[in-house]
Every structure is written in structure tokens, then in C-alpha cells.
């Protein structure tokens, strides 16, 4: 399924990044970092519309040779914080053709809710790296689960 899952803070530094084949970690880091440009572009292109529709999913960022990078752009609109522009980026093995858009969407939704849980932890300092075991295991499940 996903080979790399990353949560990027508003200021574009990684809050959480994990990739399954660990020997390629560096490559994934580069990949995720580069995809932020596309995220930025998409946000600025249709930012307004996105806000209105509450559509967080950005769709396919760009395919590279062997992986597809899916991002999700997150607008957390809660009562106490506005526009925490946290981004999720997922790198998906494109050989896995069974993956549909909907499944990616649901994965992001899961990721989002798990992230929300992390944020709800009173001992979590917003902006720190995420070191939650629950979040970790959720990401693991997303990475392991082979469709």
C-alpha cells in the first residue's frame, strides 16, 4: 500500500515521516519535500474553492517513475485554531493498480482522524515531531495492509 507517509507542518518541516523500505529513506524524504511545491501550487491555484468546499483531498500530485505521490491538504477548522495548514503526503506504490481514488481518500481520512487524536493529546506540543504510538501503529497498518 503506502510506502511513505508524511505529515508536514504549516512551516513545511516534517512532523512525521516514515517510509517502509528504510534503505530508501533519503529518496523518500527528497520526494516528499519536492512534492510540497506541487501542494503549494495546487493550494494557491484553487485555495479559495477548496476552503469553501472543505475538500481536503488534492488528488494525484505527480507520478514519478515508480511511485505515485498523493497529497492531502488539510484545513483544520476548529473553534480554537484557524487554518493550521498541515499537509499529509502519501507515496503509493503505483504497481498497485488496485488502489482507487476512494481508497486513497479513506486512507487520508484515517490519517487525519489519527492526527486529530494526536493533537488532542494535552501533552503534545503543537509543532513537535509526532511520537505517538497510536499514530505510529496506524501508519504501520496503512503501510502493511496489502490490497
Amino acid at each position: 500500500m503506502a510506502v511513505c507517509v508524511a505529515v508536514i507542518a504549516k512551516e513545511n518541516y516534517p512532523l512525521y515521516i516514515r517510509s517502509s523500505p528504510t534503505e530508501n529513506e533519503l529518496k523518500f524524504h527528497y520526494m516528499v519535500h519536492t512534492s510540497l511545491d506541487v501542494v503549494d501550487e495546487k493550494i494557491s491555484a484553487m485555495g479559495k474553492a477548496l476552503v469553501d468546499q472543505r475538500e481536503l483531498y488534492l488528488g494525484l500530485l505527480y507520478p514519478t517513475e515508480d511511485h505515485k505521490v498523493y497529497p492531502s491538504y488539510l484545513l483544520c477548522r476548529y473553534g480554537y485554531v484557524t487554518n493550521s495548514k498541515v499537509k499529509f503526503v502519501m507515496v503509493v506504490d503505483s504497481s498497485n493498480t488496485a488502489l482507487r481514488d476512494n481508497e486513497i481518500r479513506s486512507m487520508f481520512r484515517k490519517l487525519h482522524s489519527s492526527y486529530t487524536d494526536v493533537m488532542c493529546n494535552p501533552f503534545y506540543n503543537p509543532g513537535d515531531r509526532i511520537q505517538s504510538r497510536a499514530f505510529d501503529s496506524m501508519v504501520t497498518s496503512m503501510m502493511v495492509q496489502v490490497c
Binding site: 507542518a9 512551516e11 513545511n12 518541516y13 516534517p14 529513506e25 533519503l26 524524504h29 527528497y30 519535500h33 519536492t34 512534492s35 510540497l36 511545491d37 506541487v38 503549494d40 501550487e41 494557491s44
Partner: protein, 1436 residues
């Protein structure tokens, strides 16, 4: 894509120019050689036309050509080898580096500020060279020779002959099948005959005549006389002539590498002497043998295929290549080109080109175009109809452009050179070359269709490409740029034709065009698509351009830019372009730096480090590697190990380069500067045998703010005592150990010859162990003359002068992975002055096989063997400690300021005495109240005598050195082994009941001096301890009354005999840990005796009840306690005798037993009390054994006084005195006073303890302090129950002053009553029914004031019990008395009681009320009822 110097509109026409070949005779070549130039080179700077040119197109329209440029080159018979081209391109790129002082422009994108060089000259020169070095191919004609210049010299013997020879030669090259390479545009190439004439040498007449001859033969249009070399080269070149060749030749120096050094004389042996192109020589020679002297040299790029077998250019080879390039470059710059040419000659050459173009080339082109056009028109009529008819026939109405995918690989399909399909292409190319883009486009378009129909894909792609370019270049741009043409062309070239070179050209052009239209993302996509595995250099350049595209976009894509820069850098490094690689990584670094992408950052840093190292930019390498190591790295251990090794290796190289330079700063391990601790003094000696050294201060102790505060208070106390109660203003507590908590704002003082220990806290952030060797401190010292005045110049000494300061070196210090460890480094100052500890110096290294090292320093010897092999570098790290933040003034509060921290800058002062204290027989466990004798040894280990020794402790009741009166019991500890701690006197047993009285003053026991009972001077003999001397003093200890573990702090204070200005005193600390276990619990009460037998007369006597309980648990091995003596100590009272002496005289108490003693106490006689204010205490001993312990002597009295004083310290509730209540206060005090006693009981005991089957006798004493009559007092403080948590009150408590009233209890003690009556009374009731008994009521006033007393004899009627009493009696006579008692007066009342029955009666019914007579406010209070007074009435 970076900005270019040229715009696209200039670039493309310049890339495709009409090509003209030049064929020179030997002689002509020799003439040009005089200028260090070949003929083609000679023309190069002038090959652009300065004026507009006009031409007529096939439709006879006038067409204007601007800025036409022609390319003249020598005929080269061999096609260039791909390997050679590659090498050339490589050199061009590596030869072009960004200028040093180039100001990069700053691009701000989001949070990023990037310095990016706007231009990429290496790319431009690459592109130029690439386009120029394109081999001519069959499918296009753009770089085919249109014309040929045949050059001969006027100095030749037979110039005309020579011309025809050259002409034949040209013909042979063009039409002979031996020469496949130089491609010619059309079969009948334009031949242009040029006669070179050397003005300085040749005969002008002859030249002119030859020229005339030529004109006749070839026509005026076909020949030219070019006069050059107007001056001789050896003429003094005082005249500065611009050198237009330099920019062309330098750029392409490789192409023209010829040995100019040989000079003009050796033209014939003109050979390519470049070492890399040696193989050319053979080829050259071959050509010469062939009889054709150097006119057609082989393509200079030609390489023997064996010399460059693969496209992988490995480093050293490349470096050599680059260096050779550099050399030739240098050589070139030394040569002045065109030395024989004057400015007139320049003009002549320019004129020649113009003439050639106008008269020769353009008419030729015009003619050719027209011819081709005619051909095409004639063919068109036929073929068009034919083709379209057949096509319609076969494929229906529409002529579809077949998709590329359907087409088979048809690159094999080749048209013959004269195929009609190629003619249209030829015409298109010609039109393109003369900038007639409209016509060119339509021709290309037609050609494209034809080729596609034939499925000649290579040809089609070429046509598509050029169609797109010419569409773009059309003036006024009537149609949009057909980008899809380009895409198709690229795809065809790449996928079908497998011709990457053509594809690359296509991409370069297309990207440039797209860029000019601001279609950056499309350009980037194109560029990226062409990166492939086959050429690293190309991929690198294209990726870099793509990166520039990203950054130049309207919303710059910084991260993509960075990523592609990294990719480019990677390819550059693979291509051997180290400098470019480094530059790319550095540019990318700007984006990744400090953004939290640590993995990427580390990778880039590592690469930068490596590249810098290979480029010998060692400083950069070091800083890059340093970055990896000091950032909290998340790399794996192996990776970190690799980083570290590289770092050390590079560092070593750096340090080897400059061995004399200052020591480098090392980044590892981390030093936690603020955790640095400094300790002044010797290390603590371990306990040896019975001797136990004072704990003092050591680095092993953790900082404890509470205890340090205690020590500080203790020191303040003793200093205050020394300075007569005032703490001097310049007093600062002595600090032996400086840490982050201590006050470091002043320079610490260190004593000469005493070591200074600095504890440095290291932390290894890596996952690999670090090994520090030869670790020592780095310092600076300013010695001060002992004479007191400073030297003229302050000498500054730095480490390495063992005369002044000795430095300890730790030979090996291993820090395991991710470990924090402290190192203690010592300095031994031998001279006074100012010392500054700067940092640490060490060799940093790793352990090679660190995986096998399990334990730290398991076998140091084993380690050394292993470590010595590993790499290490010497360096330093500074210790810079930031002081605490200042927060005192407003300015300091509003800004952030830090105070100084002078921890590491001690001042070495003159010698001071140094005391060491040892304790001998010092117990660790005691029973509560136990007295033990120990010895203290004071040793002066310094060379100065010490004096004024004092000890201060918070718990002075714990120990004593004995009073002044005490006879010093045996001085040596060994002699006193079995002696009692007490001073005893044997008594006869007769006097057991009565007390033995003695007295002592508290002054003798060192108590009561000032308000500081804690400060105790140590009774040194002679008050001075000489150097090296030692004194043993006895010391008694008494176990604290509470059970548990006690930490008792002693602070020894001493001074030097000579007063030192800087250090006034020194201190020594000791913490004793004593564990006490429960022994006895003593309760005592005192009450007034009611008895009248007062032989002492007035003053009254009291009964003292002492309850002794053995609370010891038998675990301590205590068998039993014996109470051996009870002593009283008071100013006014004394024990007189034991009242209830039980049978066993030696009062034994086994475990958990309780015993009760009762004593009678009497007031001391007046004469004894006379000295009331002299603090004299009367001691009275009651002995239960046969030895009297003299309680008024040491140590018993010592401890008594200490306990007393500690008791007094306890705060007594003294209510504040208000003036208006003064009288009340007085009264209250009077009342209180009469219930007060000041009797202190000392219980001395012996405990029999079995320990290791040996019986020991322990001794001890307990103190009970009795203050109030009737109130119980305890020997040990009662445990207080923790107060219950109070509810918080949120309202202000009303400040009501409770009127001060004496308590009821106190008031009830005003009058002492006692009834006197017969115990039993016999009365014959049958004779007389009423029995009258006389009773005397004795009222004694205990207070010192007059008291009104009311005696009420009436029965309380309210009491219900009273009614039930079977037999009550009545008082007869007056039932109420009112009287006044003077102070201490005793009054007796005679009463009569009347009984009617026999029985037992309680006579204690009279109620006595009393009040102070002069007080109205105080109500009468019923006085304390005496005990039941029982009377037995018997009937007789």
C-alpha cells in the same frame, strides 16, 4: 532555465549558419601561421556581416537578411568521434566556472531567500560547442558546405597552377567515394578563389598580375586578392591592436590545439602536440605522406577509439585532462594573435568577407534556391496529383498524419542524395540559412508531409523540428509556436531513431523557445525528459536548467529547484565535474538548510564535504562535515561512523597542511559548558582504619541547594562571631566547588600549590564511541611578582609551562555512544597570579572495531593497541560559560543581559594554612541519648601555621569538646578504651537517699557566649597549630533524642596567623551521619507537695515524678537499662531525696518495662540562690549505684547545657505588649509565675548491650526540662500529629485582639490549700450522735502579690452526685470566709466538720476562690482542688 546572454532570436540564427569550407595551399597556410592563426581562424572574428544584405527570393521578392554570419572552416575529412565530442564538451563545461565575485541575485520565495546565479555560462558554452560540433548528417543540410574557398599565396611559384590543383582536390573530396564525410550541399559547390598576399614580404606587382590572371580565369565574382601581414611580427609592438581572436580562440582552444610554440617556421611539421591527442600525429603523418600537406587535417576532435573506450570518464584521467586544458589555455593567452596584422588588414579581411558573401555566396544561394524551386514546381504538378490520387484511393478521403506509434522503425530508410524528396528539404534549409523563415516553414511543412507519407521517420523528425523553429522565427509570428511538432520530433529522434544527439539539439532549441515564451514548466518537463543514463554531463546540465526553470516560474517552485539541483549535482559528480557538482549541492543546500529535513540535509552536507575535499577546499569540507556531526543526527550508527571517519580524515589533512597554525576547534564531543564544575583543593583522602577524614567538599557530591544554604548560614554564623557579631560587608561565603548554582560573579580564589580540578561534562551525540586521548586543560596564566608590583609587561603564558602551572593529562578517555561523561582535569599552580582556563585540548579519534567493545575501559591496555591504529586529530574546544541572566535593574529586565561567569578564572593567592580533620572512634550508630567518647585529630598539612580554630554546627547538643573546668581525661584514644565517658567518684552507699549537691556555671561550658551557641571554639593547646603539627582532642557525642538517621554538619573555621588580604579564613566541612535507635522515654511531672512538714521553712517543696520507659526494641542488642543516677539542675530548686525507693536499688528496666521514680525537690536556700543572675546552676545527684557521676562536670553538664540552650531557642509565644494592657500583663505574669518552676532533670543510665557475644556497657543521659507545675514534660520531643488541612478561608480574618487572660489552670495555682485533720477519728455515736472533727485549712499564697481569697464551705447543691452521697457531712460554723493573703503568706483556718454516721468521707469540699486583690478585671477563680482528703469516722 537560466538567463542567457543571447536571446533566442539571435541564438537560433547563429546556430545555423551557411558553412563554407576552406582549402589552403601550404604557402597560404604559412602566411596565416605568422599570426598564429589558421586561415579559418583568421576569418572568424569578421565572419558576421555588419550591413544588411538583400536577396531575391524565387518569387522575385526582395528579402532582407540581417546580421548574417557565415562559418568558414577548414575541410575535415573525418567525421568527429562521439567520444571526442564528449571530451570536448566536458572540457568546455569544466573550463567555464562561475565568476568569483559574481553577485548572485536573491530570489525570495515563501520563506526562502536564495542566492542564485542568474546566468549559467557553462551551459551556454556547452550549448554553443554542442551545436557547433554536431556531425553533419544525411537527413538535413544545414551544416553542409555550401561553398569552398580555395586559398593560395602570391608568393608561390605557380599560383594559378596551385589553384587548379586545389580545385581538383576539392572535387576529389566531394565526389570521390573515399571521402564520405565532409557533406556538401549541392554537387556543384561554389568555388571561390582567394589569393593571399603578404604585404611585408611579397611583391605587390606580382600579386596584382596574378590576380588579374585569376579574374580572367574565374571571373571577378569568383576570386579575391586578400592582402595581409602589413607588418613584420618582430616589429616592436608598441602599437596596441585589439585582439579580436582571443575570445573565439580561447573558447574553442581545444579545437585549435596546435603547437604554436614551434613558431611560423615549422608550419610543415604542424602537428597536434597535445598529449591527449597524440594519436592524431600518426594520422597527420599519414595525410602528409599522401602528399597532401596538412590541408585536410583530420578533425581535431578525432581520437583513436582505443584511447577513450567508454563514456565513463574517471576522475584522475579527467583531472589530467582538465589540467592540460588549463596549460594550453595559459599557453594560448601568452600568444598574441594577429601580430602581423594592422588595423587596415582587419578592415581588409572584413571587406573580403563582405565581398565573398555579396558576390559569391548569396548569388550562389539565390541561384540554388531558384533552381530548386523550379524543380519542385515542375515536380509538384505531377507528383502532387499523383500522390493525392493514390492516397485517396487507398485510405479514403482524409490524409491522416499517421501516429508515431504505428510507424515502424524506418530510420533505416535512406533517400539517395539526389532524391526528389530531399530537394524540398534542401530548399527549406537554404531559405532557413538566409533567414527566409516564411518560405522555409512552408517548405519544411511540405517536406514533413512527404517524409511522413514515406514513413521516413528520421527525415520527418528533422523537418518537424525545423518547421517548428522557423514557425517560431517568422517575423510577426503569424502562427503560434507548434510545440507538438517539437515533441514529436524529440520523441522520434529518441525512441525511433535512437539518436540522442539530435534529440538533445531539439530539446535545447525547444526549451530555449519555450523559455522565451515563459513556458517554464513545459521547458522543465522537456529538459527532464531527456535526462538519461547514457550521458551524465548532459543530464546534469539539463537538470540544472530544469531547476532554473522551476525557480523562474511565476510562483517559484523552490523545492523542485532544490531537488533537481541535487540531481544535477549528482550527475555532475558522476561526470567528473566536481566543481559544478559542489556548486549545485551548495545551491540546493540553501533550501534544505535548517528546515527540519535532517536526513536530506545530512546527505547534502556529506556530499558537499566530500566534493570540497576532492577539490581541496578543505575548510569547506570541514565545515560541512562538522555540520553533520553536530546536528542531532538521525542517521544510523554505521552512517555516523562513516561520517566521523571522513571528518577526521579531512581534518587530519587540514591540520597537516598547516601544522603551525592554531589548533582547530573540534565539534565533538559536545561540552556542556554550564555543567562545568571547578573544585579547589586536594581530593579527599579515603578513610584509613579507625581514622575517618572529614568529608569536606568533593566533586562527587551532588549539589543540594538546601545543604549549601545551610553551610552558608553556618559560615556566616562563625564569621559573625569572629567579627564580634557583625558580618563584614565584603564577606562572601567560601566556595570550594563552583558549579552552575554557585555564585560565580567574582573571581574565585585558589591557593598556590593546591590543585584545581575542573570537571568537564562531555556528551557524545553520536551512536559511535569517541575516544579522546591526551586530554588536558588549556590555560593562560599571568604571573604576579611576589614582590607585589606588577612587571612592566604582563607576561602571558599559555599552556606548556610546567614551571608555573602543572597540567594533568588524561591519556585516554572513552565516551561510549550517546553517553554523557565527565572528565576531571587538574592543574597545579606553582606561582601566584591570574589563571584563565580556556578550554580543553585533546586528540579526537574513533575506535576502529567499536562494535566489539562492550565494557568501557575493560582492558585499557587492550584498547591502546587498538586505538593507536585509528585516526585521530588534535584540536581544542573552548569552555565558554554564560553567566546567569541579570534581572535587577529595569534595563536588565527589559533586555536580555547575562552576567559574567568567572568560574574558570581563578586568582592564585599566597599560601594559606590547610587543615585536615580526622575522626577516631567516631560511631555510626548510637542509642538515643547515649554518650560516646571519640577523638578528633587536627592536622595542619600546609606550610603556614593556623589559628582561630572554631567549629560550628546546627546541632551543638550533639557533641562537646569538654568544658573549661573539665579535667582532660586521658588524651590518647587507645588508653580510654574501657573507660567510662563520665567522670565518676566512688561513694559510700549510705548516702544513697540524699542528694549530693554541686554547682557549676554555664559559662564554663562554652554556652551563652553571645547569641550564637552553635559556634564552639576548639580548645587547641596554644591556640595555634604549627605546620605539620597534629593535635588529638577528645570529643563526646550524644545521640540525638529522635530515633532515625541524622546528618550533622560541622563546619571548621580557621585562619592564617598572618592576615591575608584576599582570603581571611578557610573552612572545612564535615558531615557526620549518625543512626540512632530508641532507648528510654522519660516523662516527668512536678506537683506541689501538700504536706506541711516543711523543715526548710517557707518556699514550698514539690514532688517530682519521673516515669522511665524502656522503648528500645531488642534488635539493637540491648539487654537492659539501669538507671544509675538522677540529677537535678536548676537555679532555684534541687532534688532532695528519693521518695519511693523501691526494693531494687539499681533500677533495672528490661525491654518495654516501665519504672516510676518519685523525688522530693526543695527550693534552694537563699544563700545558694543569692547569685541568682550569675547563671549558676545547682546540681543535685541522686545515686542508685555506688558511683557518683559528677553531673556538674564534663561531659554531663556540657550536654545538659546544650540541651538547655537548644530548648531555649525554641520560640516561646511572647504576645506583643500593648501599653494600655500593661497592668493586665503584669498581673498575668504574676499569675503565671506562681505556677512556674525551672527544674531540669538529668537521668543517667547504663545499657547492657550484647554485641558479638560480648557484653558492652553503654552510657547515656536524658534531659527533662520542667517548666510548669502539673504539666508533663518529656525527654524526647513528642511527635506532633500533622495538623489537619485547614480549609482555605477566602475572607479576611477579623483582627480581634483577644484580651489577654491567664488560663484557668494558671489562675487556679494562685493558692495552695491543704487540709490538716486526723486520718481516722473514733467517735461514740451512740453516746453522741453528732461527731465534730476539727480540721485546719491551710491556705498559702504562691504568688508574689496580694490575693483575695474566698473560702466557701457550702456544698454544691447543683451537683447531683452530692445528693446521692449516702453520708454527707456538714461544715459547722462560718461557711464563707473572705480574706486577703499577702505575698507568700500562709494562713490557717480552723474549721469544724460534723458527721452523723460512721464511714469514709471526703473532706476536700471547701471551694476556694482567689483573685488578685488589686485587679478588678480578673474574676475569682476556683482554686485547684487538692486531692481527696479522706477521713474515716469510726464508731467506738
Amino acid at each position: 532555465m537560466a538567463q542567457c546572454v543571447q536571446s533566442v532570436q539571435e541564438l537560433i540564427p547563429d546556430s545555423f549558419v551557411p558553412c563554407v569550407a576552406a582549402l589552403c595551399s601550404d604557402e597560404a597556410e604559412r602566411l596565416t601561421r605568422l599570426n598564429h592563426l589558421s586561415f579559418a581562424e583568421l576569418l572568424k572574428p569578421f565572419s558576421r556581416l555588419t550591413s544588411e544584405v538583400h536577396m531575391r527570393d524565387p518569387n522575385n521578392q526582395l528579402h532582407v537578411i540581417k546580421n548574417l554570419k557565415i562559418a568558414v572552416s577548414n575541410i575535415i575529412t573525418q567525421p568527429p568521434q562521439p567520444g571526442a565530442i564528449r571530451k570536448l564538451l566536458n572540457d568546455v563545461v569544466s573550463g567555464s566556472q562561475p565568476a568569483e565575485g559574481l553577485v548572485a541575485n536573491v530570489i525570495t520565495a515563501g520563506d526562502y531567500d536564495l542566492n542564485i546565479s542568474a546566468t549559467t555560462p557553462w551551459f551556454e558554452s556547452y550549448r554553443e560547442t554542442f551545436l557547433q560540433s554536431m556531425p553533419a548528417s544525411d537527413h538535413e543540410f544545414l551544416n553542409h558546405y555550401l561553398a569552398c574557398m580555395l586559398v593560395a599565396s602570391s608568393s608561390e611559384a605557380e599560383p594559378v597552377e596551385q589553384f587548379s590543383k586545389l580545385s581538383q582536390e576539392q572535387h576529389r573530396i566531394q565526389h570521390n567515394s573515399d571521402y564520405s564525410y565532409p557533406k556538401w550541399f549541392i554537387p556543384n559547390t561554389l568555388k571561390y578563389y582567394v589569393l593571399l598576399h603578404d604585404v611585408s614580404a611579397g611583391d605587390e606587382q606580382r600579386a596584382e598580375s596574378i590576380y588579374e590572371e585569376m579574374k580572367q580565369k574565374y571571373g571577378t565574382q569568383g576570386c579575391y586578392l586578400l592582402k595581409i601581414n602589413s607588418r613584420t611580427s618582430n616589429r616592436a609592438s608598441d602599437e596596441q591592436i585589439p585582439d579580436p581572436w582571443s575570445q573565439y580562440l580561447q573558447k574553442n582552444s581545444i579545437q585549435n590545439q596546435e603547437s604554436y610554440e614551434d613558431g611560423p617556421c615549422t608550419i610543415t611539421s604542424n602537428k597536434n602536440s597535445d598529449s591527449n591527442l597524440l594519436s592524431l600525429d600518426g594520422l597527420d603523418n599519414e595525410v602528409k605522406v599522401d602528399g597532401l600537406p596538412n590541408n585536410f587535417r583530420a578533425h581535431p576532435l578525432q581520437l583513436d577509439s582505443s584511447s577513450d573506450p567508454s563514456n565513463s570518464i574517471d576522475g584522475p584521467d579527467h583531472v589530467k585532462f582538465a589540467s592540460s586544458l588549463h596549460e594550453t589555455k595559459k599557453a594560448n593567452t601568452g600568444i598574441i594573435h594577429g601580430a602581423c596584422l594592422t588595423l587596415t588588414d582587419h578592415d581588409r579581411i572584413r571587406q573580403f568577407i563582405q565581398e565573398f558573401t555579396f558576390r559569391g555566396l548569396l548569388p550562389h544561394i539565390e541561384k540554388t534556391i531558384r533552381q530548386l524551386n523550379d524543380q519542385l514546381i515542375s515536380r509538384k504538378g505531377l507528383s502532387r496529383s499523383l500522390f493525392s490520387a493514390t492516397k485517396k484511393w487507398f485510405s479514403g478521403s482524409k490524409v491522416p498524419e499517421k501516429g508515431i506509434n504505428e510507424l515502424k522503425n524506418t530510420s533505416g530508410l535512406l533517400y539517395p542524395p539526389e532524391a526528389p524528396e530531399l530537394q524540398i528539404r534542401k530548399m527549406a534549409d537554404l531559405c532557413f540559412l538566409v533567414q527566409h523563415y516564411d518560405l522555409a516553414y512552408s517548405c519544411y511543412h511540405t517536406a514533413k508531409k512527404d517524409f511522413l507519407n514515406d514513413q521516413a521517420m528520421l527525415y520527418a523528425a528533422g523537418a518537424l523540428e525545423m518547421a517548428a523553429v522557423s514557425a517560431f522565427l517568422q517575423p510577426g509570428a503569424p502562427r503560434p509556436y507548434p510545440a507538438h511538432y517539437m515533441d514529436t520530433a524529440i520523441q522520434t529522434y529518441r525512441d525511433i531513431c535512437k539518436n540522442m544527439v539530435l534529440a538533445e539539439r531539439c530539446v535545447l532549441l525547444s526549451a530555449e523557445i519555450l523559455k522565451s515564451q515563459s513556458k517554464y514548466s513545459e521547458a522543465a518537463a522537456l529538459l527532464i525528459r531527456l535526462t538519461s543514463e547514457d550521458s551524465d554531463l548532459r543530464s546534469a546540465l539539463l537538470l540544472e536548467q530544469a531547476a532554473h526553470c522551476f525557480i523562474n516560474m511565476k510562483s517559484p517552485m523552490v523545492r523542485k529547484y532544490a531537488f533537481h539541483m541535487i540531481l544535477a549535482g549528482h550527475r555532475f559528480s558522476k561526470a567528473g565535474q566536481k566543481k559544478h557538482a559542489l556548486r549545485c549541492y551548495c545551491q540546493a543546500m540553501q533550501v534544505y538548510k535548517g528546515k527540519g529535513w535532517s536526513l536530506a540535509e545530512d546527505h547534502i552536507n556529506f556530499t558537499i564535504g566530500r566534493q570540497s575535499y576532492t577539490l581541496r577546499q578543505l575548510d569547506n569540507a570541514v565545515s560541512a562535515f562538522r555540520h553533520i556531526l553536530i546536528n542531532e543526527s538521525k542517521q544510523s550508527a554505521a552512517q555516523q561512523g562513516a561520517f566521523l571517519r571522513e571528518y577526521l580524515y579531512v581534518y587530519k589533512n587540514v591540520s597537516q597542511l598547516s601544522p603551525d597554525g592554531p589548533l582547530p576547534q573540534l565539534p565533538l564531543p559536545y561540552i556542556n559548558s554550564s555543567a562545568t564544575r571547578v573544585f579547589f583543593g586536594h581530593d579527599r583522602r579515603p578513610a584509613d582504619g579507625e581514622k575517618q577524614a572529614a568529608t569536606h567538599v568533593s566533586l562527587d557530591q551532588e549539589y543540594d541547594s538546601e545543604s549549601s544554604q545551610q553551610w552558608r548560614e553556618l559560615e556566616e554564623q562563625v564569621v559573625a562571631v569572629v567579627n564580634r557579631g557583625v558580618i563584614p560587608t565584603n564577606f562572601y561565603p567560601t566556595q570550594y566547588c563552583l558549579n552552575s548554582y554557585s555564585d560565580n560573579s567574582r573571581f574565585p580564589l585558589a591557593v598556590v600549590e593546591e590543585p584545581i580540578t575542573v570537571e568537564v561534562a562531555f556528551r557524545n551525540p553520536l551512536k559511535v564511541p569517541l575516544l579522546l586521548t591526551d586530554l588536558s586543560l588549556l590555560w593562560k596564566f599571568q604571573p604576579k611578582d611576589s614582590s607585589g608590583k606588577d612587571n612592566e609587561e604582563v607576561k602571558e603564558l599559555v599552556t606548556g609551562e610546567p614551571v608555573m602551572i602543572g597540567t594533568e593529562v588524561i591519556s585516554e578517555f572513552l565516551i561510549n555512544s550517546e553517553e554523557s561523561k565527565v572528565a576531571r582535569l587538574k592543574l597545579f599552580p606553582h606561582h601566584i597570579g591570574e589563571l584563565h582556563i580556556l578550554g580543553v585540548v585533546y586528540n579526537l579519534g574513533t575506535i576502529q572495531g567499536y562494535m566489539t567493545v562492550d565494557g568501557i575501559g575493560a582492558l585499557p591496555g587492550c584498547h591502546t593497541g587498538k586505538h593507536s591504529l585509528s585516526m585521530s586529530v588534535r584540536g581544542r574546544q573552548d569552555l565558554e560559560i554564560q553567566g546567569p541572566r541579570l534581572n535587577n535593574t529595569k534595563e536588565e529586565k527589559t533586555s536580555i543581559k547575562y552576567g559574567p561567569d568567572r568560574r574558570l578564572d581563578p586568582i592564585i593567592t599566597e599560601e594559606m594554612p590547610l587543615l585536615e580533620v580526622f575522626f577516631i572512634h567516631f560511631p555510626t550508630g548510637l542509642l538515643c541519648g547515649e554518650i560516646r567518647k571519640a577523638y578528633v585529630e587536627f592536622v595542619n598539612v600546609s606550610k603556614c601555621p593556623l589559628t582561630g580554630l572554631k567549629v560550628v554546627s546546627k546541632r551543638p547538643e550533639f557533641f562537646t569538646f569538654g568544658g573549661n573546668t573539665a579535667v582532660l581525661t586521658p588524651l590518647s584514644p587507645s588508653a580510654s578504651e574501657n573507660c567510662s565517658a563520665y567522670k565518676t567518684v566512688v561513694t559510700d552507699s549510705t548516702s544513697v537517699c540524699t542528694a549530693l549537691v554541686s554547682s557549676a556555671s554555664s559559662v564554663d561550658f562554652g554556652i551563652g557566649i553571645g547569641s550564637q551557641p552553635e559556634v564552639i571554639p576548639v580548645p587547641l593547646p596554644d591556640a595555634v597549630l604549627l605546620p605539620g603539627a597534629s593535635v588529638q582532642l577528645p570529643m563526646w557525642l550524644r545521640g540525638p533524642d529522635e530515633e532515625g538517621v541524622h546528618e550533622i554538619n560541622f563546619l571548621f573555621y580557621y585562619e592564617s596567623v598572618q592576615k591575608q588580604p584576599k582570603i581571611r579564613h578557610r573552612i572545612l566541612r564535615h558531615t557526620a551521619v549518625i543512626c540512632t535507635s530508641r532507648s528510654l522515654n522519660i516523662r516527668a511531672t512536678v506537683c506541689r507537695s501538700n504536706s506541711l512538714e516543711d523543715e526548710e521553712g517557707r518556699g514550698g517543696n514539690m514532688l517530682v515524678f519521673v516515669d522511665v520507659e524502656n522503648t528500645n526494641t531488642s534488635e539493637a542488642g540491648v539487654k537492659e537499662f539501669h538507671i544509675v543516677q538522677v540529677s537535678s539542675s536548676s537555679k532555684h530548686w534541687k532534688l532532695q531525696k528519693s521518695v519511693n525507693l523501691s526494693e531494687n536499688k539499681d533500677a533495672k528496666l528490661a525491654s518495654r518495662e516501665k519504672g516510676k521514680f518519685c523525688f522530693k525537690a526543695v527550693r534552694c536556700r537563699e544563700k545558694e540562690v543569692a547569685t541568682q543572675f550569675s547563671e549558676k546552676y545547682i546540681f543535685a545527684d541522686i545515686i542508685f549505684g555506688n558511683e557518683q557521676i559528677i553531673s556538674s562536670a564534663s561531659p554531663c553538664a556540657d550536654f545538659f547545657y546544650r540541651s538547655l540552650s537548644s530548648e531555649l531557642k525554641k520560640p516561646q509565644a511572647q504576645p506583643s505588649v500593648h501599653a494600655e494592657k500593661q497592668s493586665v500583663e503584669d498581673a498575668v505574669r504574676l499569675i503565671q509565675k506562681c505556677s512556674e518552676v525551672d527544674l531540669n532533670i538529668v537521668v543517667l543510665w547504663k545499657a547492657y548491650v550484647v554485641e558479638d557475644s560480648k557484653q558492652l556497657i553503654l552510657e547515656g543521659q536524658h534531659h527533662v526540662i520542667l517548666h510548669t507545675i502539673g504539666k508533663e514534660a518529656f525527654s524526647c520531643p513528642q511527635k506532633q500529629e500533622p495538623p489537619e488541612m485547614e480549609l482555605l478561608k477566602f475572607f479576611r480574618p477579623e483582627n480581634t485582639t483577644v484580651p489577654l487572660r491567664p488560663s484557668v489552670e494558671q489562675l487556679s495555682n494562685l493558692i495552695k490549700t491543704s487540709l490538716h485533720y486526723p486520718e481516722s477519728f473514733n467517735h461514740p455515736f451512740h453516746q453522741k450522735s453528732l461527731c465534730l472533727v476539727p480540721v485546719t485549712l491551710l491556705l498559702s499564697n504562691c504568688s508574689k502579690a496580694d490575693v483575695d481569697v474566698i473560702v466557701d464551705l457550702r456544698h454544691k447543691t447543683t451537683s447531683p452526685e452530692a445528693l446521692e452521697i449516702h453520708g454527707s457531712f456538714t461544715w459547722l460554723g462560718q461557711t464563707q470566709y473572705k480574706l486577703q493573703l499577702k505575698s507568700q503568706e500562709i494562713h490557717s483556718l480552723q474549721l469544724k466538720a460534723c458527721f452523723v454516721h460512721t464511714g469514709v468521707y471526703n473532706l476536700g469540699t471547701p471551694r476556694v476562690f482567689a483573685k488578685l486583690s488589686d485587679q478588678v478585671t480578673v474574676f475569682e477563680t476556683s482554686q485547684q482542688n487538692s486531692m481527696p482528703a479522706l477521713i474515716i469516722i469510726n464508731n467506738v
